[in-house]
Symmetry: C7
């Protein structure tokens, strides 16, 4: 108990308070500087990209990608610079990191995920695998790229969910926004229907569709009988459409072919209990 | 046997008891200090955030996040400080950690999970991937964020279960509380029904719904025939709603479209044994 | 052969037997001490907690948790202390551990699981993720916590099985004993039944249930039409009950709603072969 | 060629043959000693446990566990001691292990599995997770424990197969031989049957069963209507039985309840084609 | 506050600005050089390969592969050279990499993925496992090789999606563009139909097909009755076609055999509800 | 060019050719020695075991196991001895292995699989988990052990395929050739049939079977009603048979019980469409 | 700017160009030597094996295996020798590898896959697990071995695809080309048919088949009733055939047994809707 008292009395209170105050002021100034620099920096970067886009040297998506990336890098740079500056008022950060024995090993093991994130992210950016706005599939996640960063990629799911994906989780990038996309319609007719005649009708429907729809790049081709089963015969139609329009084209083609088949009295595959519906 | 006796007699019992008592007092004081400081600290942090929230500088959720985080950090800081202070009465903790050979390696391997937790947690907080109250999906877990910490994140499942998730388990953060959410209704009609007419009716129903429901952000669009199968034709309707209201909107739209279709006598897909029900 | 003889004759048999006897006595004393101390220690800990519980400073569950933990720690402490004391009569344990080259590396790799267990266990206890008696789900295991330890957690499955789970296997702790729990009833009616009327009836049944059942915390709300399929229309009812009573409430609600619907002649979804049952 | 000849002539053949003979004799003696000691040791251990069991200080299972463990440890100890003694006639084993550079690293990596086995096995024994004869589930394996060892656990599958499981493979030990076990019967009745009346009958059947069967520890309780589907209504009955007798109890209860329901003319859920069977 | 002022005044502003300007000019020159060299290099490589292809020393695909690879290598080489030259104006890169203690370990762990990519990529190229244009399957991905690189391989999916696959993800390369491909038709006939007669008819159909289709390399062989089930008898036909034509051949064969069977009144397996369709 | 010439002229061609010839002779002698020793060694080992088996000290299977193991060890020993002797004519193997820095680390990582194989294999042999001829299940593989080695185990699948399994892949050894095996017959009767009477008949059938079949070790016991479903009542029969005969016993019992039930007119569970088969 | 000029003027252009030219010539000579040596070496190896095969000392498959392996080794040897010779004109390769600190660690981690490939490949070859032409299953891949190498194994799938499998991916080698193969036919008859009589007929059919088919090694044995279900009774027939002929035998047996059963009017299991087919 006495020692505690003694320890208290030993403290040079003047120096202690002075130290406290000077440090508080320092930290306050650093915090203000941080927020100001952060705000100004973001302003400048955004302004630069606004003008950059008007000059139309690169595509809109690429400009967004670069802006998202540079904002991300600037944010990390300024955050860690000030974080170390502030922390160094309390403890000697670099000395600790250098001198730690066991801890350093544990940190090295634990931080390898972070390094993997950055290495992978760097190459994704360098090899232009993604642009902001691209429709992509990353392992378990589907959606449009919302932002790109060195450590994480943000993907907006089609249902509105925002996914934050550490770059190291990105194994295979499947980019659906690069080049024309295929559309594929499997037309099913009754197993006893005349397949030759049906294929003729489908070919005509495809030609009509192609004539009217400028989004079709590579004409819908009727490949032939793909499968014969007890309940239906499958005729496959395939083609290529402008990127992003493939689903629209597919839906139109599906509706048109069906209408033509019905109009030409090609028997459709019936669900097996249909004949039980008396009144129809 | 004799040696044991000798060993007993050698002990300086006075010094031993004095040591024991002084140490007990020290530990008692430390324990009391720990509980007092812990209680006062928590009081102060909560008080600060109560006032912070009233000033409404940041959203309610972000304030909760910061409060949860700072309480968590404060708790760890004070716990480990006093734990080391108390332990040092018995053994020289730092010397042990520094001097351990094999053990240190084993510890480094074993503790890498802890470091991974903290590194991942740090970036989740820095990149604002989560806020307290957000509706999220983390790999196997669904629910609302209850608390955020450097090591663990607590998620309250929709069924009331509380999940404690070490941050290292958090691979992909899927945040359902960021921006408008999509709603999607697949309307099924009989394969022989008039799809064109049905789409007209559905469009009208959608417009009515939009006019009356202010939670719909992006009008329900009738995409067209999505699929044609032997038992039904599927017409897809899609749109965007205010975050959190998408399920409500979806349920209303489902009920309204169905009622309209019935009112306009569009044949619905019938379960195949329905015609067997004579009296109806 | 001669060497062997020579080697035998060289041995100082007197010293050998003396050494053997003195060591045997030492070990015997140590073993007796171990069992006495172990028994006394456990007695004291249990006695302390018996009084602790009567003072009702903490909940029953938390007291059990602390007792289980302290018994576990005491057991390990006393076991390893005496194990090393006994072993040191034969070989110099610490010297071996320190001096081992290859072996130490192998041990470090092999023992990392043990360290992981202790690190994870420590944080599970520190963060109060579990209490003895809690109903939990740990990855593949369901049940009530039976005992908590630094290395293993014991969970009693609902079917009586006792699971021993190394703490490192505990990834996500899903605790079902923290706060109110949701109950959810999906009422299915015939697709042609009047959904509006059914919802009215269900609402009344819910209000009755709430009035009579004090375990319902958050009134059963009729959310609306959740799904429309060819064979039934689903109406969802949701609410919150006191922890542990949710299944009871759910069962009661299910029975009551069904009875009300039958009484009000709302057509239930029929199994498709029902009309084939002539006599009913 | 000459060098080879020269190399041959250089060899001191006398010393070579002497060396060979002396070493052969040594190894022979060691081998004989090994088999004798091994045989005597096992005899003594088994004899000790035979008397130990007659004194009935511990349960039969625990005595078997200890015997199996001590035999296992003794076997390893004597095997490796003699193996090293014999090998050291040819090469300097310890020098090799100490001096190996690359190899040692490879060995450390490769042998970590072995260390994991021993560490895990040690704690399984220390924490008494298993006893010889217990009915257990270890990840993919079901059966009764046949023998326990530091490195492997032997489990006899219910179909007679003997599983050898390295202890490191044992993640979660699910022990079915610790305490009373639950039995659970889901009674299914026709959806239109009177659930209230059925529950009355089931309750009576349960009470009869409990009165006559002393293996029932916790009386079969009728929980209520668990599920209502189009084809049946499920009533759940639950209780606890003496360990190992739960399946017997369950089978009896199942048969009795069914007979009572039939006797009381509660309509059972009918397979949907039953009414088509005319003559029955 | 004063110190900050003092620190400001200490800076040699002249030297600072000179340094800034000289560095800016340096970087500008480096950037211009980078873009010029990059553009010229790509031009030269493409020009070289244009002439290379006209001489037809290697196949088109191999030339594309080499071009894609050399462009890829050139791009990395020039990028990293200039990146280091520019960075060295700010920080001493090599010194940092050499001197880093903990960080270096973390980097080594994190970067092993990159090294794995390059090592795997190198051997894929050396062993000519892939050529640009080959139809391949890489674990989860199907498509045609679009570009080959040391770090990533680009595969264009058949639906138009572009996959970027880090080479380390490529475990087993399944190349569908190396040699003739098999086609296989499983003909299903009614279980009561005459299998012998059906096989005769199928053999004739196969011979006709072979005579007219030059893409068939190895004649379609009728293997015999592959399976007998309650609903159909399966007769298997197999053969080999020119690479890439196997699906076309399969479709033709399927249609022809079916027509022949129908023409020869071999009963086809009927879907079990077919006889219920009255009017057909 | 000149330097190359100069380099050529510098070579001491006489010494070069002498060296080449002497080395060639050395290698030739070594190769001949290798084949001779290998052939003689195998001959001796096989001869030894032929005599060993005739003395019938151990079981046939154990003798095969030892022979397979010793041949395997002898093969590796002689191969690697001569391989190193031959290689040392060209390069200093041991020096390379000792002196390699980076490579050694890579080798250590890469070779850990090999060490794991040997360590696991050693314990499989030491603990006698397998004998040549045993019927076993190793993770994905079923079959009889064909050969045992330190690195690989060969298993002959029941369909004739020969599996080579690296020992490290062997996690859990499931040995089906150790002790009696269970047989289990689930008898299904119509849900309305008299279960009591059926059980009587089955019991009689079991007793008959036991009386005539000496392979039955533990009499087939009728456990009782295992399950009651809408389509059938299941009665379980269980017992133990001599190892390897359990399938034969099961097949016989199945046939006999069925015949007895039919003879006693116990209604069997009917497939639900059976009554629709009029003429049968 | 001036410094750059200065730096340019400092370069000794004469020496630079001389160096460039001499190096270019060196590289050219090395490249020519590489292609010549590579061509000559392959020629010699192939010639040697052509003669080797004519002497028929080893089987065709083993000769192919050795040829494929030696070509593979020769290719790697000559490639890496010249690659290092050429690279050493530019940079000091060995110095870099030796001196690299962090990089070396990363390389060691990254290259362990390569070492694993070679170690596994070496033992696959040494233990003769595979021969060129063998029909094998390697985890996910089926097919015939096309080529064997130290790093990769090439397998030609039955559909023509060529798989390149890194040896480290080869866990369990399942070789279908070693010894006789089993064939197995499950004959299904109607549940009410006379099983005894059916087995007689099947036995006769099997004996006929065996008499006429020399590919059957181990006569088809009728094992008995394997399974009794509501829709059919299964009788199992098993035997062994010459390697590669098992499928042919199985198909023949299937057809013959079926014909015999039909001829002897054993009722076959009918698909349950068959009786609904009126006209048959």
């Amino acid at each position: 108990m006495d020692r505690l008292m003694q320890w208290f009395s030993q403290i040079d209170w003047d120096k202690f308070w002075l130290d406290m105050i000077s440090k508080s002021i320092k930290i306050l100034i650093l915090l203000i500087l941080y927020f100001v620099l952060s705000w100004v920096g973001r302003k400048l970067i955004r302004g630069f990209f606004r003008r950059y886009r008007t000059q139309q040297m690169v595509s809109e998506n690429r400009a967004n990608t670069l802006e998202s990336l540079i904002l991300n890098l600037f944010g990390y740079l300024i955050f860690f610079t000030f974080a170390i500056l502030i922390l160094q008022n309390f403890i000697n950060v670099t000395a600790i990191i250098a001198g730690a024995g066991v801890a350093s090993l544990a940190i090295a093991f634990g931080a390898q995920g972070l390094v993997s994130d950055v290495v992978t992210g760097f190459f994704i950016l360098l090899e232009r695998q993604l642009d902001v706005g691209d429709s992509i599939t990353l392992e378990q996640v589907n959606g449009n790229v919302e932002a790109l960063g060195l450590r994480t990629t943000q993907v907006r799911d089609f249902d509105g969910t925002l996914h934050f994906i550490p770059n190291r989780q990105i194994m295979i990038v499947s980019n659906h926004s690069r080049g024309n996309m295929r559309f594929l319609v499997d037309v099913r007719i009754a197993p006893k229907a005349d397949a030759e005649k049906a294929m003729e009708i489908i070919k005509l429907a495809c030609e009509q569709e192609k004539a009217t729809n400028k989004n079709i790049v590579d004409g819908p081709t009727v490949l032939g009988v793909q499968e014969v089963s007890a309940t239906n015969t499958v005729i496959r139609v395939m083609g290529k459409a402008v990127n992003g329009e493939q689903f629209e084209v597919q839906r139109n083609l599906l509706k048109d072919i069906r209408e033509e088949l019905v109009a030409n009295q090609i028997e459709l595959p019936l669900s097996y209990l249909a004949p039980l519906e008396p009144g129809k």
